[in-house]
């Protein structure tokens, strides 16, 4: 990445249409280098589609985007070489061991054996996977799998890490361990783009962007958003935005939901 660049990702009117349906509608993003950037929004709001265009696996219908200074349409392979990606499904080879998974991705990114072995050691330590080197990935529990997937995404020391709902289906302790790793990576200068439905996680991001119906509604630091909307936390803001756009009331507390259910049962 050219050093003069201040944004790791920049998009201009990025749009993706599937037949009649516009999944992503004129998205403009500016993600500063070295930041942890949270892309937030309800299911089906266009988060994954946006991410897939940035990873160059979906072609935008219109609009422009550069990732680490490279055009997403002109230089997809250049971007792929410098990008770490982790999908919500932890796409690991379950019939390969922890080490073999890391070895495989190391080879795919063209690392020599020495560098690969060194990186493997570092990542196993980073991901708290020590002692599990010879275990098949399929036998690992959710949190371990997730950290192995992160390790695989980091094997080639990418400058940019894109994480699509990395903590979905993972226990609260593993989530915290995972986010500690994310922030330590950020300190090393890696830019991180992450989507999540956990607003407590989102609050630890440097910048968050709310996306709804394929459009960006607001982008700012979590503190600024909370302050400007006069809300308690990001969760309230998420609900507020959904209510504002859909014009429907959302129960703000789970306790209330439970109460309603009990009443209807009687």
């Amino acid at each position: 990445m050219p050093d003069g660049l201040c944004y790791a990702i920049e998009t201009e009117g990025l749009t993706k249409k599937f037949a009649d349906f516009t999944a992503v509608d004129g998205v403009c993003l500016r993600i500063p280098k070295g930041s942890v950037f949270g892309l937030l929004g309800p299911n089906g709001s266009g988060k994954s589609t946006t991410i897939r265009m940035l990873c160059c696996v979906l072609t935008p219908t219109s609009g422009k985007g550069t990732v680490m200074g490279m055009d997403i349409q002109k230089n997809p392979e250049g971007i792929k070489q410098n990008l770490g990606y982790m999908s919500q499904r932890f796409s690991l080879y379950e019939d390969l061991t922890v080490e073999e998974n890391l070895d495989f991705y190391g080879g795919i990114y063209g690392l020599s054996k020495d560098i690969r072995d060194e990186r493997k050691k570092e990542l196993i330590t980073m991901a708290n996977l020590s002692g599990k080197e010879k275990s098949l990935a399929g036998t690992l529990s959710g949190g371990w799998k997730q950290r192995l997937a992160l390790g695989c995404a980091l094997i080639h020391k990418p400058k940019l890490l894109i994480l699509d709902e990395p903590t979905a289906g993972v226990d609260p302790v593993s989530r915290r361990v995972f986010w500690e790793i994310i922030h330590s990576l950020s300190k090393q200068g890696i830019t991180i783009l992450v989507t999540t439905h956990y607003m407590d996680e989102a609050e630890s991001c440097d910048i968050v962007s709310f996306i709804f119906d394929g459009k960006i509604i607001n982008t700012a630091s979590p503190e600024d958003i909370i302050k400007s909307e006069g809300a308690k936390n990001l969760e309230d803001i998420f609900i507020k935005y959904v209510e504002r756009i859909t014009n429907t009331k959302v129960s703000s507390a789970f306790a209330g939901v439970k109460f309603l259910n009990e009443e209807s049962n009687e």
Partner: protein
């Protein structure tokens, strides 16, 4: 930063990963060894066009030494096995109707008398024509046996009159059957079976290769890496090429040692061309894998490949007998060419010079199918 079009490190990584996966999957290891045994033994005996021991009912109204001699000729031919002797036409019809007998030999009551008085008695052979192959064999062999009987009878009669049959002029045709002098159908079908089994196993092995990655969504991770389609597809093929070749050797040894169909021609040439065919069939499987979204679709596409190849390649039915359009379809099936090759080398013992067209066709098929696979596999989710 590695952006080359073909990177050996990436290629080797794919191969290594595939090897590990194959090793850990007992099915893909055992299938190529178990399937040739099962298929060869099962089909090796089933796919035969030779008909003998046709169950026969005899309605002998003459009951004389002559008529018994006549029936005896049918029995010693091995084509007919007389399982029933009946005393009425009704019983005979019943046996043929019920399928217990496929042929009925009727000898008239004046059989012996007519012979002795110098007249020609008329016997009758009734044949169940449901299965034309059996019927044709019964008909042809019935006619020949009967003619032989009457010739021998004539010769004996002439000798009694003091005339030697050799004194009468006659033509004689000297028939020589090459390559398969015993006209054993197993020599025709077993080598072809090796080809068919090989095709089925290899197509099956690779048809799931990419589909598995799609189903387990590992493909999503792969396409965001710099790996190139050609590295991925060729890399995935390598372990299966080895498995396919082992499978070929296995099927071929069964052909030689179990079914005693020896190889007349050059073994090395056969092996090289067998490996070429393995590569070609693996590409077909890989092509299926690029467009099938799940294993079910891959299975159905496999049927689309396998079924026509059994019927149109000349495996069972001679392609010469097919209408031009259907015959042409056979040319679109790689197995057609390999059957020419394996039958040519195993039975006829011919060299590569006679097989150039077939070899060329297989090479073209492999190249085109592989190219389509590589082009079809786009690194995108569009």
């Amino acid at each position: 930063m590695n952006n080359s079009l073909f990177d050996i490190k990436r290629f080797k990584s794919i191969i290594k990963k595939e090897f590990i996966q194959v090793r850990r999957d007992p099915v893909s290891l055992r299938l190529p060894l178990v399937m040739p045994i099962i298929f060869m033994l099962l089909f090796g005996y089933a796919v035969t066009t030779e008909v003998d021991n046709i169950s026969t009912v005899v309605f002998d109204q003459s009951m004389t030494q002559d008529s018994r001699d006549y029936v005896e000729k049918f029995i010693v031919s091995d084509y007919f096995t007389v399982n029933y002797y009946v005393n009425s036409e009704g019983e005979m019809i019943d046996l043929i109707d019920s399928g217990k007998a496929k042929a009925g030999l009727v000898i008239p009551s004046d059989f012996s008398i007519k012979l002795k008085t110098g007249k020609s008695p008329k016997t009758q052979l009734i044949i169940d024509g449901t299965d034309p192959t059996t019927a044709r064999t019964a008909m042809n062999s019935g006619i020949i046996i009967s003619e032989q009987y009457s010739r021998t009878y004539k010769e004996t009669s002439l000798k009694m009159l003091g005339v030697s049959a050799a004194a009468l002029p006659s033509t004689e045709i000297n028939v020589r059957v090459w390559y398969n002098p015993g006209l054993e159908s197993r020599k025709f079908t077993i080598p072809a079976l090796v080809g068919l089994i090989l095709q089925n196993i290899t197509v099956m092995l690779t048809a799931f290769a990419l589909v598995r990655e799609k189903e387990r969504s590992t493909i999503e991770q792969l396409i965001v890496t710099p790996v190139r389609p050609v590295e991925l597809i060729l890399g995935k093929l390598v372990p299966y090429i080895i498995i396919g070749c082992v499978s070929f050797l296995f099927a071929l040894s069964l052909c030689v040692f179990w079914f005693s169909v020896g190889i007349e021609g050059n073994l090395l040439l056969l092996l090289v061309l067998g490996f070429l065919f393995v590569f070609c069939s693996l590409s077909i499987g890989m092509l299926i894998s690029t467009f099938a979204r799940n294993q079910l679709q891959a299975m159905m596409s496999m049927v689309l490949v396998i079924l026509p190849s059994i019927l149109l390649s000349g495996f069972i039915f001679p392609r010469e007998a097919m209408p031009a359009a259907i015959n042409f379809l056979g040319y679109l099936i790689p197995l057609t060419y390999f059957l020419d090759i394996i039958r040519g080398i195993v039975l006829k013992g011919i060299g590569a010079g006679y097989l150039l067209n077939d070899i060329f066709a297989l090479c073209i098929f492999t190249f085109v199918i592989l190219s389509i696979s590589v082009l079809r596999f786009k690194k995108s989710l569009d």
